[in-house]
């Protein structure tokens, strides 16, 4: 319950406050979103597996976003930013797919 309220609160805050993303942060936003989605799907799967843990979820979310951003930042500094972002997206995408498949098996038992 509190989780749903938190999510709705965050979305509403984003809609009304319309925070402007500073230019230096903009390249990391898409990667951060993919990392956040990975954490969300992981959390959902854990919830359905019955092993959900608040702390693990939040820590994995924050760590995912930060590590993804750091990897892209490092790639930018080394001149392989777009390649590394592709790599991050591929890895996280595979995880999202695997977790989504597990969630699907739980929900539809198929």
């Amino acid at each position: 319950m509190i989780a749903a309220i938190g999510l709705v609160l965050g979305i509403v805050a984003g809609l009304f406050l319309e925070p402007t993303v500073p230019t230096w942060l903009q390249p990391y936003l898409p990667i951060a979103v993919v990392a956040a989605l990975d954490a969300v799907f992981g959390g959902l799967r854990a919830l359905l597996d019955g092993i959900f843990d608040d702390r693990v979820f939040v820590v994995s979310f924050v760590a995912n976003v930060l590590v993804a951003a750091v990897i892209v930042y490092l790639g930018d500094q080394l001149g392989v930013g777009s390649q590394l972002s592709t790599g991050v997206v591929v890895v996280l995408g595979i995880r999202i797919f695997a977790n989504a498949a597990a969630i699907r098996r739980h929900l539809f038992s198929a």
């Binding site: 609160l9 965050g10 984003g14 903009q26 954490a39 992981g42 843990d53 693990v56 977790n99």
Partner: protein
Amino acid sequence: MPEIPRRDASMVLLTSLGEDSLDAGYARAAARRRHGAPPARHGRVILAAGLVAIGLLLTTAAAEARDRAPATAQARSELVNEIEDRTETNDRLETTLATERLAVSDARRTGLRITAQGSRLARVLATLESTTGAGGVTGPGMSVTLTQVTPDDSGTDDDPRTTEATEGRVSDRDLQTVVNEVWAAGAEAVSVNEQRLTALSAIRSAGEAILVDFRPLSPPYEVQAVGPPSMRSAFVGGFGGSYLQVLRDYGIEFTVEDRGELVLPASAGLRLRYATTPNDVPSGATPDPRDRTSPQ
């Protein structure tokens, strides 16, 4: 006996990616709970804060993406507008330049006509201007029109070298060849889409557009040439005609027709940057038969 390695041992990175899709922390936390460890303190609050952050991140990213798409489109349309504006200004300035040039040459002609030597110089000047392209010319000739046909079915061509992009499109090389053959057939003055060609003209391409003297042309391309009546048969019977026949295989249609009276404009881009007239030679002392007969 050593253990037989797994067949996919070399792909351990890939397999682990697919198998360990769930954060190992969940399993460990569940195990801790089974062993009687207390649940995390302030767990709910942390969860709520994390979800607020996720919601904020998602909406911000969505808003960003929504705001950025029109911004790029707007920038693009602004650039297009600016290009069109400047092209229009350029055209207007060029028209002004042409009329001013006409006025200048008229004034010069009337000024030179005062003396006998002056009127001779005026004739020489007119000939030079017509020859070099600095002045407009008129006369009989022919026109060669190249029309590009967009291929309706590009899938029939399985030659990988002829890509869809070049099929049926007139290239700068085609236009160069045609113009060269028109000169070779005896043309005295040539223009492409109202752009007069001079000794300094360049036909080249930028992207998909063909430029003549850095002015982009739009198809169909019409090469107009003033020359002798034999010019057309010389062009069609020579290399130019066979080149156009080959072009027809690539979906480029052409017409060659005689024109009784052609009016070719003066070149807009004829200016010398490095070459100057030698000081000891007066500009009127150009080899001209009429000049040589004069006793003065």
